[in-house]
Structure formats: C-alpha cells, structure tokens
C-alpha cells in the first residue's frame, strides 16, 4: 500500500472568471506535516476550499487524488466521510444548533455512509469529554450553539475539537493561528500535535513562522499566483520571516 495520502496534479481553478490556482502540484504522504505560506491573495485559502470541495470554485484543469481515488468531482460531505477535514479560517455560527448535536449528526452521517450503527449516546459523551480536554474546551461551549458568541480563540479551539472528534486522515488548518494569543496558540498547536500519527497528515496554512515553532513542518511550500514556487524544509519558513516574499517572486518571474 502506497504512502501517498493526497496528490494534486496541475490543478487550475477559477471563481467569477478569475483564475486563482494556476497549475498547482503537491504530493503529501502519510505521517507528514506540510506548511503552505505565501503572500495575501496567492491562493492559500482557495486551495483549502477546493480541497474540501467548495463548488463555488470551478476546476478547469488537473486532478486531486485522495487515497488512490480521484476526488476532483466528489461532494464535500463524501470527502469528509473519507477522512478530509478543514479547520476554517472563519468558522461560521449556526444559531440554535448545539455543538454536541452538530457533532453527533456529523458522526452519525459518516457512520451511515459506512453502514455502521449510530454511536451510542454514552460512548459519544465519553468521547466528547476526552477530546475536549485535548484543547481545553470549556464545558459550557459544548452545549452552546455552534460558534455562536464564541470568541475568536474559542472558535479556533472548537475547530480543533471537532477535528479530534472526527479524527481525519488529512487535516487542513486554514490560518488557524490568526487571532490567537500566544497561550491559545500553544494549546491549539498542542492539540494538533497530539492528533498526529504515522497514518495521517496535516496541512498548515499560515502567514507566520511562529505557529511552525509549535507544529513543526516536514516541508514548507511557498504559494504565489496560484502555484508553488518554492519548497524547502522548516528553515525556509525562518528565511521567509526575515526576507519576506519579494526575493522569491523575482526568482519566479525569471
């Protein structure tokens, strides 16, 4: 069995007639952590949306293969069932739907897809208390409506809590560090690290090197104008912190 978790080949996409990804290639193996950095508007969040199956983007070329299966046309929920998770940059609020109910629905929908019985309430609650400890999620938040009235930090923690509950094979963290103070950042990073294994992989999309002190990447990619223009190890992130992106942009232009 191959170690390739996901392979993106020559991916091009657009939204409202504007080309965003312009021939992106990326291969991620099980057990790896990839960081994706890049200036504003380079296509980082688009990449995460497209991987999760957001159909606002039109894929014009290329393919995404996940665990050996072409998922380019697959619905978001099916990708989720197969083990893809996106921690949103701006988690949405769903008034009147409790966090717990939301997650139980999500888990049961997945179980249904795999023909497994619904998770018994007792097991589910046990899992909730275990996983919420991982990110130190306040007990009250679990019973509150999904993200409603949560602080920025609470929303991000809640994303990682959901990730822990769904236990994905590929987790994409879209600027999970934005809006977090240093303590919250440590907690969130710690949660992500605990979920890491040789069977799953993590994609960390970030602007700042700081997060990568806590979630240490195996690879760092620089995205510019919808393409990966440079790949390196964690030292690349440090270099970017010092030098910015301009030196790479010039290289890419040549």
């Amino acid at each position: 069995m191959s170690d390739i978790l996901i392979e993106i080949k020559d991916l091009k996409c657009r939204i409202d007639n504007q080309n965003i990804l312009q021939g992106l290639n990326l291969k991620i193996n099980k057990g790896e952590v990839h960081a994706i950095m890049g200036p504003n508007g380079s296509g980082k969040s688009t990449l995460s949306s497209v991987l999760a199956g957001n159909d606002n983007y039109e894929i014009t070329k290329g393919s995404i293969t996940f665990l050996g299966e072409d998922i380019t046309e697959m619905s978001p929920e099916e990708r989720s069932w197969k083990g893809m998770f996106l921690a949103f940059q701006y988690p949405v609020e769903i008034p009147g739907v409790s966090n717990i109910n939301f997650l139980r629905t999500a888990l049961n929908e997945r179980n249904k897809y795999f023909g497994i019985d619904s998770i018994p309430a007792k097991d589910f609650l046990k899992m909730v208390s275990e996983k919420s400890m991982l990110v130190g999620l306040d007990n009250k938040l679990k019973n509150r409506s999904v993200n409603e009235g949560f602080s920025g930090g609470e929303k991000k923690r809640n994303e990682i809590f959901q990730m822990a509950m769904l236990n994905p094979k590929l987790a994409i963290l879209d600027e999970t560090d934005s809006g977090l103070d240093i303590d919250a950042l440590k907690i969130v990073a710690n949660g992500v690290n605990k979920l890491k294994s040789s069977k799953n992989a993590t994609v960390v999309i970030t602007h700042y090197q700081r997060l990568l002190d806590y979630i240490v990447p195996d690879f760092v990619h620089v995205l510019h104008e919808g393409k990966i223009i440079k790949t390196g190890d964690k030292s690349l992130a440090l270099e970017l912190e010092k030098k910015g992106y301009d030196w790479l942009k010039t290289d890419a232009a040549i």
Binding site: E77, F88, I94, G96, V97, T105, A106, E109
Partner: protein, 481 residues
C-alpha cells in the same frame, strides 16, 4: 431516524403528499350550496336546540351582508360558497361501544396517519378525540378525565350534554359579527371539540384532537371551545393533515379559549394540510379565527407550527382583560413552492400589569410569500403593561418573500413595548461548513432551520416537537437556491 433524506425525497417525488389518500367511507352529505334551509338542515341533523339554530341564522344573516376581507398579503381565487357541501358525516349505524365497532376503513385511515387509537391509548398521557370530516368518531380516555370532572368531547355532544356552558360562552370571544369567516363558521359549523376544566383541576394529560378534511368538496367548519375554570390548567394539542385534492378546499375554523381567573391554557398546533402541488395547484385555504380571553392572573399561550395549506390567514390572539394576565404567541410558519401565509397575532392589553410575548419565525422557500402581521394594543387602563415582540424571517431562495407588518397602538404612557425583527438568508457558508463536517445538504438545511426555529419548537409538548421537526424537514425538501 432510520430513514435517510434521500429516501424521503424519493418517496416524496413518487407520492407528492404523504397524507394524500382518500378514505372510502359512505358519507352523509348535505346538498351543495348555502342558504337558510341548509343552515336549518345542519341544525336539525344535529338535533340542536332552538337557541342554537337562532344563533346560526343570525350569523348567516350577518354573513350575507359582509365582504370577504382582502387586506391580507395573499392572492387566491375566492371560494365559490355555493359550490360547497356544508355537512358531511360518516354514516353511523349504531352507537359505538368499543374500537372493535369502529369502521375498519376508518381505523385504517388512522393507522396511515400514524395515530392509531390503540397506540395512542397505550402511549401514556394522550387522549385523542379523532375528528374525521365533521363528526367525532372515537374518543378515548374519557372516563379517566371524567373522574376529574373534565369534559372533553365533540362540540355536538357538548351541545346536548352541557348546553348551559355552550350557551354561556360560545361567541363571547369570537362573536359571529367578528369577521367574514367567523360569521360563516357560526352559521354552518358542523362539529369540533369542546373542553371544560373545572375549578382548581390540573388536567393530567395533553388533550389532543386530530382534524382531517376528507370528503371531496366539503369545507370544514370546526368550532372549538375551551374553558379553563378558575385556577385550572390544560395543555391542548391540535394537529392536522388532509388528503391531496385538486380543487381548493376551504377550512374556516373558529377557536375560542376562555381562561378564567388564575387559569392557564397552553394551545399547540401543528398544521400540515395539503399545500398544493409544486406548481401551486390545489391546496387548502386555511382561514381561521383563534382567540382567547384572560381573566385575573391567567395565562394563554399559543404555539403553532404552520407548514401546510396553500393560503393561510390566521392570527391566534389574546385579550388580556384581567390584571396581571399573560399572553404568549410562539410561531413557526414555513412556506414553500407557491404557498402563501399571512399569520401573526393580536395582543390586546386591557388589564393592568398585563404582559405579552410574541416570537415569530417565518421560513420562506420556493416562490412562496410569508407574512407576519401582528397587533399589540395597549388600552388606556393597561397600566405598566409590557410587550416583547421578535419577528425573524429566514429566506431560502431569492424568489420568495418575507414581510413583516407589526402594528403597535399604545394608549397608556406607563407601558413598555419592544419590537425586534431580523431577516436573514440561509448561508452558503453555513451549508458548506456543515457539509465539510460530513452533513449532507438536506440534513444541513434541516439542522439549520430547526436551530433557527428552536425557541418555538421548545415550547411544544415533547411528542409534538418531534413531529414538528420532521415536518420542517419534509416541507423544505430541496428548497435551497
């Protein structure tokens, strides 16, 4: 639930309306048309006393002088009142002693509706008075209620057995002069429910009545009278389904609630009548007058989940006459396809320190029109009275409409009246978020909508809340756009 959204959808495509079947029961039907003789015929069929016939005739005279109201935000072909049969009763061969004697066809109908009486009997705490077309066919738990002195029976039975109560209270909250449909109902009402809770008695179970329009071309003119005597309590459930029909069917009910001093009435409705097909053909016209009056320190609470009918015109209201009385209105109204709903409430504050709360949640999908229309009236003497209103609208498509018409009339400077309103569109971002977590679009819609309506659904008795949630799901199938 073992049932998936997709299965449900498939089923709905094949079977446009879940409860759209017709029971083959011989009906005792009045000739088509409306005139004084028909009114007399109905009265005599029901062996009514002279005073009630006079009441009907007076109502009929008034009705003839009235015009169908046209101020509501709805458009429809006016019913041809001369083309309706005003009385239809399943033929009764003899008095029924037990369920075994009930027409098996009828029992089958009840089973299809999922409300078999045996089951209801077993399920603790629900007494069912089943109304098929116009005459009550079977009643359960009567003895148990009887021990407490509670009267729960069909309106016709009450006319025979408790004429003094009917005479004293009927028409005191909704007089026949009130409006066009109330006048029509007062003239030709066929049957309905009657309930009396004696002083100090807390009714130990939820009382429920299932209404069902069955006979083709018969309008249904229900009459409900509910009296909660001093310091008593009752929770009453009303749920409706009707068979699928091509021509529009008229339903003009009158519901009167009387909460005497320190009494409390909780009245819950789930309305799921045939809304017409996807192209707006057919469906029930639901023109209902519901009103309650509160005595000193009493409380009336209306909760409604409206998903059915082609056209709805309905404003369950409270007259807060007694000091310190409380009125509440919790409503979820869903419209899809070409449905039109103009619904809301009236809170009339007369007594001192009276309080009212209005929570209205409109959900519009397809090309439907959904309007909230409410009046909060604070009378001169209603010192220190308070009202809080919240009217939210949720839009599912860009072709539907949501409208809010709040009227506030305040004649007392010490009163506090608050009104909040929001309009939102179901968010693509919300849907994508749910789908990313593995929740399919249909399920996500139902989750979001149920969350939105939760404040109201929570007010429903348990067994109704589940049914109501399912109804919301069914009503909004494939409706996002």
């Amino acid at each position: 639930m073992s049932y998936t959204e997709k299965e449900l959808k498939k089923e709905l495509d094949n079977k446009p309306y879940e409860f759209g079947f017709v029971t083959d029961i011989e009906s005792d039907k009045a000739p088509v048309g409306l005139n004084e003789d028909i009114v007399k015929l109905i009265s005599s069929k029901k062996k009514e006393p002279q005073w009630l016939l006079n009441y009907r005739l007076k109502a009929f005279q008034i009705w003839k002088t009235m015009k169908e109201p046209d101020w509501a935000h709805v458009k429809y072909t006016k019913p041809d009142f001369q083309n309706i049969s005003y009385y239809s009763a399943p033929k009764k061969k003899k008095e029924l002693q037990s369920l075994d004697e009930v027409d098996p066809e009828l029992l089958k109908t009840m089973e299809k509706l999922g409300i078999s009486i045996e089951e209801q009997k077993k399920l603790s705490g629900v007494a069912v008075d089943f109304v098929m077309d116009s005459v009550s066919v079977a009643t359960s738990f009567k003895d148990k209620l009887g021990e407490l002195g509670i009267v729960f029976c069909s309106f016709s039975e009450a006319v025979q057995d408790h004429p003094e109560l009917i005479k004293k209270y009927m028409g005191t909250v909704v007089p026949y002069t009130d409006n066009y449909y109330a006048a029509l109902n007062s003239a030709v009402f066929s049957d309905g429910s009657f309930c009396y809770i004696p002083k100090g008695v807390k009714c130990p179970m939820e009382l429920s009545t299932y209404f069902r329009i069955n006979e083709s071309g018969t309008g249904q003119f229900e009459r409900t009278l509910l009296i909660a005597d001093e310091s008593s309590y009752v929770s009453y459930l009303e749920g409706c389904t009707a068979p699928s029909r091509d021509e529009n069917q008229l339903h003009a009910a009158v519901v009167e609630l009387i909460a005497l001093d320190k009494a409390e009435i909780k009245y819950s409705t789930v309305q799921n009548w045939y809304p017409g097909d996807k192209n707006g053909k057919g469906g029930v016209y639901n023109f209902v007058t519901k009103r309650g009056i509160c005595g000193y320190r009493s409380k009336i609470s209306w909760t409604q989940v409206e998903t059915g009918s082609a056209v709805t015109w309905k404003y369950p209201s409270c007259i807060l006459k007694g000091d310190y009385s409380i009125g509440e209105f919790y409503s979820v109204a869903v419209t899809n396809n070409f449905q039109q709903a103009d619904t809301g409430t009236k809170m009339i504050h007369i007594g001192k320190n009276t309080k009212s709360t209005i929570i209205s949640k409109g959900i519009s999908a397809g090309k439907s029109q959904n309007s909230y229309r409410g009046l909060v009236k604070i009378g001169k003497g209603a010192k220190n009275s308070r009202n809080f209103s919240q009217c939210d609208s949720l839009l599912m498509t860009d072709q539907c409409g949501a409208h809010t018409y709040p009227y506030i009339e305040c004649e007392n400077p010490t009163a506090t009246v608050e009104h909040e309103a929001t309009t939102s569109k179901i968010g693509e971002e919300q849907l994508f978020y749910c789908m990313q977590r593995g929740i399919s679009e249909e399920k996500a819609i139902s989750l979001i909508v149920n969350g939105y309506a939760k404040e109201v659904l929570n007010k429903l008795p348990m067994e109704f809340a589940v049914e109501a949630q399912k109804l919301l799901e069914i009503s909004l199938e494939g409706s996002v756009g």
